[in-house]
């Protein structure tokens, strides 16, 4: 293995990751426009529907994601300082926080379902057009975001496994860096989802 010359371009990998992030940004920007326009057309219904969401749960989840972003950022420092144990610890902390976020999300959605609020439910249809739009967008956008959390969880798990078996070290930390970038993107999107759905009522 050591005789084979492995060509590697970390700058290009990073640039590729950023290009992917740009496409993700466009995907969510489109949804933000849809949200903004429908909110403008149904101000009263959106106002009342947004008050159904718990600000406390939203705030807790925001802080959980922010802390998880900090822990994976610190992991990129730890691996460069060749501190394998701390790197793994920080990655596990990130995974734990991601799990906490999803648990909160699960109970939040479960609560809505039990109140008869889910896409296509009869209660929602009775509430009217504006509420249906608000909750459809709420479920779609937070659902798509949650899907990104799951992908990030898998990605960070792979990084964690590879740090543990020494195939990802201070010499080739680019996979950790790119997973970090992806995780920060998930955080960035949530930074905008949180005020739009939970705060502006």
């Amino acid at each position: 293995m050591s005789t084979i010359h492995l060509h590697r371009d970390d700058e290009a990998s990073k640039l590729g990751m950023w290009l992917f992030i740009f496409t993700e940004l466009l995907l969510f920007a489109g949804l933000f426009i849809v949200y903004g326009v429908y909110r403008y057309l149904n101000p009263v219904a959106f106002h009342l529907a947004a008050e159904e969401l718990s600000v406390t749960v939203g705030t807790v989840n925001t802080i959980i994601l922010l802390v998880s972003s900090a822990t994976i950022a610190m992991a990129t420092t730890a691996i460069r300082l060749k501190n394998k144990q701390l790197t793994i610890l920080l990655l596990l902390a990130t995974l734990f926080l991601a799990f906490m976020f999803m648990t909160n999300k699960y109970f939040e959605w479960k609560g809505k379902f039990e109140h008869g609020i889910f896409p296509g439910s009869e209660d929602l249809l009775r509430l009217g057009h504006g509420d249906t739009l608000f909750f459809s967008l709420y479920f779609f956008m937070t659902g798509l975001h949650a899907l990104h959390i799951i992908v990030g969880f898998v990605l960070i798990s792979i990084v964690c496994y590879r740090v543990n078996n020494n195939s990802l070290t201070a010499n080739n930390p680019v996979l950790l860096d790119n997973s970090g970038l992806y995780w920060h993107l998930v955080d960035l999107i949530w930074i905008f989802l949180f005020p739009l759905f939970y705060l502006i009522t």
Binding site: W18, I33, H184
Partner: protein
């Protein structure tokens, strides 16, 4: 130049400080929306979210320590998206 950006190790302390700033701004944005300021509430929430995302991009996503090409690329793409959003809403508000 590239080697320099590759070798830059960000101290843990900086990440903790950025995190503290982000959490303070989150609590601030929740507190602001508790007071009713009409359209200003929306503006304040978006402004705080923008400052928070700038912090995430600059420090967590390492842009401050990356090479010029990437910095210019990311800033222009994010500005373009912000502009598209802004113009769409401007259009809807004044039609």
């Amino acid at each position: 130049m590239n080697k320099h950006s590759d070798n830059h190790i960000v101290p843990y302390r900086l990440y903790i400080q950025v995190l503290a700033g982000l959490i303070v701004m989150t609590i601030l944005s929740v507190a602001i929306t508790k007071i009713n300021l009409d359209t200003l509430t929306v503006f304040a929430a978006i402004l705080l979210a923008s400052i928070k995302s700038a912090l995430v991009l600059t420090f967590f996503m390492h842009l401050k320590f990356d090479n010029k090409l990437l910095q210019i690329l990311v800033i222009s793409v994010f500005l373009l998206v912000a502009l598209v959003l802004f113009i769409t809403f401007l259009d809807y508000n004044f039609r």
